[in-house]
Amino acid sequence: MRDKKGLSPVIATVLLIAIVIVIGLIVFLWFRGITEEAITKFDTNTNIKLVCEDVALEAGYSGGYVHVSNIGNVPVYKLKAKITSEGSYSTEFLGDDGSWPETGLTQGGTYSGIISTPGEEILLIPVLIGSTATGEKAYTCEDRHGIYVSMS
């Protein structure tokens, strides 16, 4: 019975440290999730992540210009453009040259502006303004809420 061998102290220590790190990470992610500042929009205090679902934009590209129309009822503060070319992509905000409307794209608002970066496709991702306990804050919607525009 005395000859029975257990884990070596080194492996046991490594395992213990790994378990502690994994548990710590899980607790950190959970805690970050519950303490994340909620951004709401409209007087209905709708979570801004849900408002992203209601954004309705139409966009096209011709002659180096991108054209966007807000046909929905959610005002868009800014538009993040993810320009995809072969094997890479770059990101910019539409109208960074000062051509973006000061109030953003409100109901029925439109924008035409030049895109200087060459590419094959643009993904236009809406950025909305919402309210938090500490004031107004911009929120970039997820990529799936964006619209694709072909540059060819």
Partner: protein, 125 residues
Amino acid sequence: MLWIVLKDYNCSTNQLNITLKNNGKFNLAGFFIHASNNTEQKIATIDLSKNLNQPPGEIYGSAVVVTLGNENFMKPGNENGYIFDNLPPNIELIEFIPARFQEENNKIRFVSCSGAKITEKINCN
């Protein structure tokens, strides 16, 4: 079912006269109007509401409404005429998105009916 139709239009010296008919079943408050003067451009981005010669019609944000007030004055079958001045040259495309006031969560909101958008090719040289 189209909610709004461009019944007729007339272009003359930077001026556009249009007659719109509410062809749907709901009362409407007005519409958003955009134009394009580039044949390659598929999205109309020139906002013509700023060019409205009022009355008839009033400007409400970026929209044109029949009359100010939170009511939908454009009833089914109604026809309304509007005049737009100082147009940019060579308008070839015009888009209308109907809009109406409706109650949501006990509040009256001005909403655009994006699914009922109509696009018309016109010739305003």
